[in-house]
Symmetry: D2
Subunit: 297 residues, 4 copies
C-alpha cells in the first residue's frame, strides 16, 4: 500500500526532497505559502499540492516540515491553526528544518501532548545533496520513530545518524556549523598570510591536504577560495542564520564560544559589502580586505 507523506516547505531544499520521495514511490501531499512552489510540485508524478496547510495532514502517516527558521516551524506546527492540532493521533512529524534545540523540544512536547510523535532531522549537504538524495540527516527522537521514518529518510539522504533523544539532531547540526565556520575562518587566515608572502595557494592547498591541517573545506572549497569564485553553494545568509542559532543556544546554556562569535561578526562584514549571496567560504574576502590585498592569488 502506498504511504502518504505530507510535506510543508517547498523551497530550494524542500522541493527536490519532495521530488525524491515521490520518485521513491511515496504519495506526496505538499504545501507552501508561495503559489509557484505549489505549482512546481503539482507537476511531479505522484505529488499533489494542497491549498490549505491543514490539508497536508489528511491521510498522511508522516508529515515533514522543511522551513526557514524556528518561527515558521512554530507557526506551522503549534498554535491553534497548527498541524499538531489537525493531525490524526499516531501521525509522525519529522521536522527537517534547522532550528534551535530549545524550540525543537518545545514543539515535540506539544506534539506529544496531542498524541503525536516527532523527530527532529536537520540535514547537511545543501541544494546539491537535496537534489541527488545524498543529504546527511541528523536525527533526534525515539528509536521506534526513527525505524518508522527510516525508509522515507533514505529516499532523501545517504547518511542517517541517530544522534540521541529529541532535539539532539538540531544540537548536532549546530555543532557541525561551528566547525564549518571555524574551519573556513582558519583557512581564510592561512590563505591571507600565504598571499601576503607571495606564496602559491594551490601549492599550499596540496601541501596541507592530508596532513594535520587538512579538512573537508580545504579539499572541497579550497580551490574556489583560491580562485575567488565565491558565488553559490551554502550562502552567507544561511550560514549566519545557523550561527545565530548556535550563539543563542550557547548563551542559553552559558557556554562561551569566542571563536564562533568572532566568525559571525566577520561574516556580517561580508554582508555589508554586498556578499549575502556569496558562499560561506567567501569569508576569506573579509580577511583579505582587512589585509588590503586582492582576493585572488
Amino acid at each position: 500500500m502506498t504511504v502518504t507523506v505530507g510535506f510543508v516547505g517547498l523551497g530550494n531544499m524542500g522541493l527536490p526532497m519532495a521530488c525524491n520521495l515521490a520518485a521513491a514511490g511515496f504519495k506526496i501531499r505538499g504545501f507552501d505559502v508561495v503559489a509557484s512552489a505549489r505549482d512546481a510540485l503539482s507537476k511531479i508524478e505522484g505529488a499533489e499540492a494542497v491549498h490549505e496547510l491543514r490539508d497536508v495532514a489528511v491521510g498522511a502517516a508522516v508529515v515533514i516540515t522543511m522551513l526557514p527558521d524556528s518561527p515558521q516551524v512554530l507557526a506551522v506546527l503549534s498554535g491553534p491553526d497548527g498541524l499538531i492540532a489537525y493531525s490524526e493521533p499516531g501521525t509522525l512529524l519529522v521536522d527537517m528544518s534547522t532550528i534551535s534545540p530549545q524550540v525543537a523540544k518545545q514543539v515535540a512536547a506539544d506534539a506529544e501532548s496531542h498524541g503525536l510523535s516527532m523527530l527532529d532531522a536537520p540535514v547537511s549537504g545543501g541544494v546539491i545533496g537535496a537534489e541527488k538524495g545524498t543529504l546527511s540527516i541528523m536525527v533526534g527522537g525515539a528509536d521506534a520513530d526513527l525505524v518508522k521514518a527510516r525508509p522515507i529518510l533514505e529516499a532523501m539522504g545517504g547518511n542517517i545518524v541517530h544522534c540521541g533523544p529529541t532535539s539532539m539532531g538540531q544540537t548536532f547540526k549546530l555543532c557541525n556549523q561551528i566547525c564549518c565556520a571555524g574551519n573556513i575562518l582558519a583557512l581564510s587566515e592561512a590563505f591571507a598570510l600565504c598571499r601576503s608572502q607571495g606564496g602559491d595557494l594551490s601549492k599550499l592547498r596540496d601541501a596541507m591536504s592530508g596532513g594535520s591541517a587538512g579538512s573537508w573545506m580545504l579539499n572541497n572549497v579550497g580551490p574556489q577560495m583560491i580562485s575567488g569564485n565565491d558565488k553559490g553553494g551554502f550562502t552567507i545568509d544561511l550560514q549566519l542564520k545557523d550561527l545565530r542559532l548556535v550563539l543563542e543556544t550557547a548563551m542559553a546554556s552559558h557556554v562561551a564560544l569566542p571563536g564562533t562569535a568572532l566568525a559571525a561578526q566577520l561574516y556580517q562584514s561580508e554582508l555589508a559589502h554586498g556578499g549575502s549571496r556569496n558562499a560561506n567560504y567567501a569569508l576569506h574576502r573579509v580577511i583579505d580586505r582587512l589585509a588590503n590585498q586582492p582576493v585572488t592569488g
Copy 2:
C-alpha cells in the same frame, strides 16, 4: 661513495631524524649543545658525534639544522662563529627548524654571500613522524638544491613539497599551523556546546566525520579530546611558539589574523592552568573551563 651529512640539533625530533639518515647509509656528523644528546647519537651505527659545532661541517656535502627557534638558527649558522663562516663553498645548508620566514630569508642571503646554498625545510608530523621517517617536509629554495637534497630528505619524510623560493617552506609551515589551531578551536567549541546539551560526543564525531565539518583533527585527535586524554603529542608549548611566529610574520606584513590571535590567547590560559605539556588539542579544556563543565563526556 658515502655522502657525509652534518646534523645540528639532536633533540626529540633531530635525533630520530639523524638515525633515519644513518640507517639509509649516510654518514652523520652530529652536534648538540647537550652532552647526553651527543652521547645518544654516538651509539648509532654510521653516526659520529663531534664536540665542537664547527666540526660538523667538515667534509659534509649537506648540513642540516633542526633547532628550537630563530635565535638558535641565527646563532648556529650566522655570525662570526657560525657554520656559514666555516663551511666549504658549495655546501648545501638545510634548515629543518620552524622559524620565521624573515629570518629564513636573512640566513639564506648570508649563506649565499659566502658561496653556500640553503633550503628551508620545516616539517610536520611530530616525534612519531620523525621516528617513522614519515614527516611532511615543506621546502623553500632553488630547484637544483632540492634535487641535491631530495635523497636525504626522502630518508626522513614521506611527503616532500617544493613550496617555492627561499622562505616559502617556512611560510607554508606557518599557514599549516594556523589551520591546526583554528580547526582545534572550532572542534573545542563544537564539543563544548554538545556537552552542554548532554550530547554523546562520539556520536557527534561520527556524524561530522566525512561531511563539511570534517577535518584531520576531528578524525585523528577527536577521540582523545572526547576522553580528555590530553597528554603527549604536539604540545601547547610548541604550538604557541609556532603561533607566535605566525603572528609576528602577519604583523610584519600587516595581515590581521583575529582568529589565530584569539586561539593563541586561549592557549595561554591552558599554560596558566599547568597544561604546557598537554597536547595542542587540549585547548578544549579552556573552552570547557569557561563553560564550567567537566572536560570528559
Copy 3:
C-alpha cells in the same frame, strides 16, 4: 490641574520612578503583572494601582512603560489587547524600557496609526539613579512630544538628552552599553596583567585616573574590581540582555562589532560560574580565571 500619568512595570526600576513622579505631584495609575508590586505602589500617596492593564490609560495624558525587554513592550502596547488600542487619541506614550531600536520604531508606527504619539526614553543610572531621581534619560521622538513629557521626565532624571527621532534614544542607549562593556573588558585585562606582575592595583588606578586610560568605570567601579567586591549594581544578567540587543541591532545593520561580541561571550562564562547576579564589572573574574590567578590583589 493634576496631570494623570499611567505607569506599567513596577519593578526595581519602575517602582521608585513612579514614586518620584507621585512625590512631584503627578497622579499615578500604575499596573504590574505582579500583585506585590501593585500593593507596594498602592501604599504611596498620590498613586493608585489598577488591576487591569487597560485601566492604566484611563484619564492619563501620558502613559509610561518600564518593562524588561522588547517582547513585554510589544505585548503591553501593541496587539489586540495592548494599550495602543485602548488609549484616547492624543495620549503620549513614553517607553523607558531598553529595547531594540527596530521594535521601538515598530511600536511608534503602531501608535501613530492609532493617533497616539510616542517617545522612546531609555535610562541609565541604575536602581540608585531611579531612587534618587537622577537618571540619565535618552529620548528619541518629536520635539513637541518631548516638550510635553519634559516635566514628567525631570521628576525622574537629571540629564535629559534629545538624541534624535523615534528609536534614537534606544540607539544611544545601546551605544552607551557598548562602551560600558568594552571599558570594563579593557580594565579587566589591565588589572589582570598588573596582578600577574605583582603590582599594586590601587596605585595603578591612581596612576591611570585622569590620563588617557581614564574612564568612568576606572573611577567609579575600579575600587570594587580591585577588592573583588562584585555584588550588586548593574548585574551581568542585565548587561548581557543589553549586549544581546546591541548585537541583534548590529547584525540587522551588517555592522561587525568584534570587541562587543567577545565581551558578551566572556560575560557568559561568569554566568556559567554562578555570577549572574554579580555586577557587570565582575567580568574581571573571567579574565583572572583564564590567568589562573585570584581575583583580589
Copy 4:
C-alpha cells in the same frame, strides 16, 4: 652647583624633554645616533651634544635614556660598549623609554652589578606633553633613587607616580596602554553602530560623556573620531609597538588578553590601508570599513 644630566635619545620626545631640563637649569650632555638631532640640541642654551655615546656619562650624576624599544635600551646601556660599563659608580640611570618589564629588570640587575642605580620611568602625554613639560611619569625603583631623581623628573612632567619596585613603571605603562586601546575599540564600535542607524555622533558623545560610558578618550579624541580628523597624535605605529610589549609580557606570564589581542589585530588592518601615521583613535576606520560605511558622520 649645577647638576649634569646625560641624555641619550633626542627624537620627537627626547629633544623637548632635554630642552625642558636645560631650561630648568640642568647642564645637559646629550647624544643621539642621528647627527641632526645632536645639532638641534647643541643650539640649546645649557646643552651640549657629544659625539660618542660614552661621553654622555662623563661628570653626569644622572643619565636618562629615551629610546624607541627594548633592543636600543639594551644596546645603549648593557653590553661591552654600553653606558653601564662606562658610568661612574653611584650614577643614577633613568630609562624613560617604554620597554618590556622583563628587559627593565634585566638592565637594572646589570646596573646594580656595576654599582649603579636605575629607575624605569616611562611616560605618557605624547609630544605635546614632552614640549609642555606636563608628562605623566610612571616610576619603578627604590624610594631613595626617586628622591634623587624627582627634581629632574619634575622639570619634564607634572604627574610623577611611584608605581613600585624595578620594572613596575613599565608594567603600569603597559596596563595604561591596554585601557587606551580597549577604550578606543569600544568607542569605535559604539560610533559605528550609531552611524549605521543615522545617529548624530556629536549628540552621542555629549550623551555618553560624564555617564558610565565616559572616558578620557571620549572627551578628548571623540570629536576627532567623529570628524575623521585622524592625523597626528600618538600614532598607530607606536600604539602597536606598545601592544606588542603588552602581549609579549602577558604571554610570558600566561595571562590571556583576548580583547587586547583583538585590538592589535584590527590595528594592523589600518597599517595595511596606509594608516601607520594616523592617530591611535583611527581604529574607528577599521570598524567603519568592516561595516562598509564612511568614516565621517
